[in-house]
Symmetry: C2
Subunit: 254 residues, 2 copies
């Protein structure tokens, strides 16, 4: 049985806690947060603390706090030579204080407050300082029912960056679609099957193969018409830049 202490109370911490409660061969023995109110509703199921000096002995400490306080918090831990991981996509493993055995346990998914997630659909990217600790994080991923991938720091940084494109930026394009339909009083819901299909397609096709549309075809007439229809400058800019990007990818003349 792997004993675990969770540190932090944000979206990731809460989702990880809930998933660990259901996982096999693991036991969350304590949950720390500086502001205990954020986790108070869990007081009947797990031991809580707001004092970092009261942290219990455990096999693994999971730090799931804001990127900019991971380093400081790891220095405040009142013990040494324990396995300590953070869950961030962009913070270096070396930001963790070296008095403990360091690792990264990065769940690459978009967590929303109050929205449950199927944790078996969350890939875990593992980075580790001491090889002997690898098996602990592998077992933990398997206990959660997750696929796990061992990555190095550069690879994790690339995944975190790519995630911004395929998640935040994609979502912003949904937002532009929403604004464009709303401006003509059309129901945005009409676009939802297309949005779903666009994501579904790349389960079997590469994004390169899945591309269609006026930019890919080099259909100048439609591109011009679209640019004329757009009201907002920023929407025109996005249209032009992504059209240029598609043309570059598919070898059309600019």
């Amino acid at each position: 049985m792997l004993s675990i202490v969770i540190i932090g109370a944000g979206n990731v911490a809460t989702h990880v806690y809930k998933a660990l409660k259901k996982a096999e061969d693991t036991s969350v023995i304590q949950w720390y947060n500086r502001n205990i109110k954020a986790i108070e509703s869990y007081k009947n199921e797990v031991s809580l603390t707001k004092n970092i000096d009261d942290l219990k002995q455990a096999d693994l400490y999971i730090i799931a706090v804001s990127d900019d306080v991971i380093g400081t918090l790891s220095s405040q831990l009142p013990f040494t030579d324990k396995l300590v991981v953070h869950t961030s996509g962009s913070v270096s493993l070396h930001d963790l204080d070296k008095k403990n055995r360091r690792g990264v346990f990065y769940p690459l998914q978009s967590f929303t407050k109050n929205a449950d997630i199927d944790f078996t659909e969350v890939p875990i990217c593992i980075e580790i300082e001491n090889k002997k600790d690898l098996q602990v994080l592998k077992n933990l991923s398997e206990g959660l029912g997750c696929k796990h991938y061992r990555v190095n720091s550069d690879q994790r940084a690339a995944l975190h960056l790519a995630a911004v494109f395929v998640n935040n930026f994609v979502n912003q394009l949904y937002r532009v679609g929403h604004e464009v339909t709303e401006s003509k009083s059309v129901d945005f819901n009409i676009l939802k099957p297309l949005i779903k299909e666009t994501a579904r397609k790349i389960e079997t096709l590469s994004p390169y193969m899945a591309q269609t549309g006026p930019a890919k075809r080099g259909d100048k007439k439609t591109i011009k018409k679209h640019l004329r229809t757009l009201d907002k400058e920023i929407h025109k800019d996005i249209y032009e830049l992504l059209t240029k990007s598609i043309k570059l990818t598919h070898g059309k003349k600019l």
Copy 2:
């Protein structure tokens, strides 16, 4: 029983033909294409022709050809006062020759050759010149198991434009994600659960509410790090522009 002639042999024509074959209360009585080889494999199930003067009498003619030949083709039809629709998102209803009763039957979905599609997931946008023809197109949509929406020309143009953002441009962001991960030899598949979840989220949340990430948070440190990591100029440009767009949407200082 509604008798239908299909004109054209591209992706949309083929998908519409296949869906109509399975639909209730409709019968495809003929399929026209200038180059008959493209549809030859269907010769045992439907009457084929490459001569426009041989078109049979039908209740409805569906023109599913390239945008730029819809007008010409509609003028060549050897009859008048019949119900003739095209399936394009961007061509005006008035591009159809006015010798017939005109309409648009626009299936808003991304069709890929050789990839079957669940047609009940395809919203149909209907535009019609004579009110009395509306019921025919409504019945047809229902026979196909599709949701249908009556739209005007401006609204159809807005949908077609928004579709470029949420389909072609979103797919290009998947492509950028693919390039970013490949540049560090990471498996692009690790991002697929996130891609799926990003699309799934907006089934219940507006894109505005679903937004997360460094641009939304105004996390300058991460944004700088990401821009430094990107090798290609065009990727930097996309990153900067979509970050700006998210900040504008969410009222952050630029």
